[in-house]
Point group: C2
Chain length 187, copies 2
């Protein structure tokens, strides 16, 4: 399955990041991004609703990976379903994606409005994971508490992954952090 196919969207995302690096996020226009990617503005708007969405277009798919992993989990213990949600999301963060994720994060966390959007996106992820856990029969408050814990692990893992230079995969980092969370709460 081609997760990162070299189509217009990817070329636009690369072009956008290059331009954000060179001249800043604020000063870059959709017209410039399209021109750099060698596509028309019309093609840009078929892929993304606006400049900001170039940075956030992956979030729908990420949400699906999380919730599908819970739905398809063979685990019976809720905490193991949460662990499977993390494993499912790990596939989204293949090694080939790391340089892009790193550059994207630099732009997002360098702009308060984008960082706020990122935080809201994480809230939506937690809500979706909680719903997926309830679908699997996990009651409240466990579903909501576990879902938020899952997203906490995911966020910290993501920050670790983009900063990491030891070659650990996102899967490994998430597993380590989930274990660390369980240990710190058990202590």
């Amino acid at each position: 399955m081609a997760r990162w196919e070299p189509g217009s969207s990817q070329r636009l995302q690369q072009a956008a990041l290059d331009l954000f690096d060179e001249q800043g996020y604020e000063r870059t226009t959709v017209a410039e991004i399209a021109a750099r990617a060698g596509v028309t503005e019309r093609t840009f708007f078929r892929c993304f609703s606006d400049k900001r969405e170039v940075l956030f277009a992956g979030s729908e798919r990420l949400l699906e990976e999380f919730t599908l992993a819970v739905a398809n989990s063979v685990a019976t213990a809720p905490a193991e379903m949460a662990a499977d949600a993390l494993s499912g999301s790990s596939e989204f963060f293949g090694e080939e994606r790391r340089p892009w994720a790193r550059r994207r994060a630099a732009v997002v966390f360098g702009h308060p409005a984008l960082a706020e959007r990122e935080q809201l996106k994480m809230g939506a992820l937690a809500t979706a994971v909680a719903a997926a856990l309830r679908e699997r029969g996990v009651g409240e408050p466990a579903a909501t508490l576990l879902a938020h814990s899952t997203i906490t692990v995911f966020r910290v893992a993501f920050e670790t992954w983009i900063a990491d230079d030891t070659g650990r995969t996102m899967t490994q980092i998430q597993q380590e952090l989930f274990a660390a969370l369980r240990l710190s709460l058990a202590g």
Copy 2:
């Protein structure tokens, strides 16, 4: 210590909530809030920077309660420091505050921009608790993971508390939820 003294701020907060209920948040002006509270606009602006801050003025103090509770905790286990942070914040949510908190929440969660601000406030709380835990010698990633878990428990507890009609205190609800989180992650 008078935490909820009947001064201008409190009268302004009551007046604001009454007006938000009667005519909606958007349609209410600072001038109307001041008039209803029987104070001048100048007094309003000595208490709050704008209309929105009437709803969010407590967040600074809440952040202090959390971080002070961690700093003053006699616990040595990080999870117990987190539990103490929750106990510390509970004092902020005395029974006399529940009706106000309930009405405030109805306004905040009824307006996406206010709900977003609430979510960002929670992110800032987690960051502050993580810093307080590190000050107490808790290493990373435990400090960040525990801090976010603490705020998760706090958020769910708060929603439960304002909806609750069984007479449970915020302290009891937070303790129950913290125990539920620990149990669900142990399972």
